[in-house]
């Protein structure tokens, strides 16, 4: 048996993993990335003359399960959920699905130090809306993390890799019940946990306390201690953005007064002017 040289070995490793798209309408362009139990390639749809993304799933997974998941994901029509065009099976038995090719960056690469807080919160809002929508359809993401969120070239946000529980997923974003620690099966509250972790990931080092408390509440170890759903989490984030008190961060009377004063400073200034004028006139009459 001949021993393979290093160059031959590297070549074989590369070519054996490439999907054979013979019999499909796609022409392979190249690998885009890896994740979620499969590899994503860019390809060209020869019929519609457009570029697509093709996700080829590991051969060890049962194709029927993946087809079912693709059908579920395809039913989620939402601006932040990448539409699936087609599913199929490659000649080598691996399942694949073709979907919209998102031109953009993964969230972990899009994030940089100069990104404003409002933009970071906007990203959370967009991603959260996708999750909230999916939950109304009974679909749980189960593997939300920055690598599964794409930011398009116009700032649009897409949540990817639905319904496939990550095998080697980042522990930081996985709820305790997903690792079988806290007991109970994962449900939409596991996504709430992941949203909290995502928020924590996006927050800058010196983030406002209310936002850190929102993330902490979402990441509570017990599912029933978290927000009841993603909409409640998003509402709290919105309350922060509107200058209101957040549910996750109870305030003292002094903090409430300070918040009222900040939100109504113009009115308080005018009322103070009215009182000042009255006092001025009162003492003027005394002179």
């Amino acid at each position: 048996m001949r021993e393979l040289t290093d160059s031959t070995l590297d070549h074989l490793r590369a070519v054996v993993d490439l999907p054979d798209l013979t019999g499909t309408r796609y022409e392979l362009e190249g690998e885009i990335g890896r994740g979620g139990l499969g590899v994503v390639y860019a390809a060209r749809d020869q019929q519609l003359q457009r570029r697509v993304a093709i996700k080829v799933l590991d051969s060890t997974l049962p194709p029927l399960r993946l087809e079912e998941e693709a059908r579920v994901i395809a039913s989620l029509e939402h601006p932040a959920i990448v539409p699936i065009y087609e599913t199929g099976t490659l000649p080598d038995g691996r399942a694949y699905y073709a979907m919209k090719l998102v031109a953009g960056q993964r969230l972990d690469r899009y994030l940089h130090a100069q990104l404003s807080l409002s933009e970071r919160l906007r990203l959370i809002q967009r991603a959260g809306e996708a999750l909230a929508f999916a939950h109304t359809r009974g679909v749980v993401h189960r593997d939300l993390k920055p690598q599964n969120v794409m930011v398009g070239s116009f700032g649009e946000v897409y949540v990817m890799d639905w319904g496939v529980e990550g095998v080697a997923g980042t522990p930081q974003f996985r709820a305790p019940e997903q690792a079988g620690v806290a007991g109970g099966a994962p449900d939409h509250r596991s996504d709430v946990y992941a949203m909290g972790a995502l928020l924590q990931f996006l927050l800058p080092g010196a983030a406002p306390r209310p936002l850190r408390r929102i993330a902490a509440k979402a990441m509570a170890a017990r599912p029933d201690a978290r927000y009841v759903g993603v909409p409640a989490l998003l509402l709290d984030v919105q309350r922060f953005q509107d200058g209101l008190a957040v549910v996750a961060c109870p305030e003292t009377w002094w903090q409430q007064s300070r918040r009222f004063a900040i939100r109504n400073q113009v009115l308080l200034l005018l009322l103070a002017a009215f009182v000042a004028v009255k006092f001025f006139l009162f003492f003027l009459r005394r002179l």
């Binding site: 005018l270 002017a273 006139l281 009459r285």
Partner: protein
């Protein structure tokens, strides 16, 4: 509650408060009821006009300015009337009237339904 009703309500309240402070001027205490009624009506008129303005223009700055000017004007009309003692109280009436008008102008901009002006 639309902006005109907002203006009427807050104008009435602030006008009443403004008129009540006349009690600290002993010379005019006998006419306090008349002053209260007049100040309240003045406040309601200013509030009505500020509310109308807020429906047309969505700007806190312009709303405050409009309310202040209207408040100053109607306060002047009242100050022009001599008191029973024969004195005029231009400063005591116009200066608070100016500030009350500004407050009513601000409140009609921030509270009440949306204005008709689009961005």
């Amino acid at each position: 509650m639309n902006k005109i009703v907002t203006g009427l309500v807050f104008g009435a309240i602030l006008g009443l408060v403004d008129g009540a402070t006349a009690w600290f001027t002993p010379e005019v205490r006998p006419a306090i009821v008349t002053i209260l009624m007049g100040s309240t009506v003045k406040g309601m008129v200013v509030g009505l006009l500020s509310g109308w303005f807020a429906r047309k223009v969505n700007s806190v700055t312009w709303g405050v300015a409009f309310g202040a000017v209207i408040g100053l004007f109607f306060a002047y009309l009242i100050a022009m009337q001599p008191q029973p003692s024969g004195n005029h109280y231009y400063l005591e009436i116009m200066l608070p009237g100016f500030v009350v008008g500004a407050i009513v102008g601000f409140l009609t901009q921030r509270a009440g339904g949306p204005s008709q002006q689009t961005a």
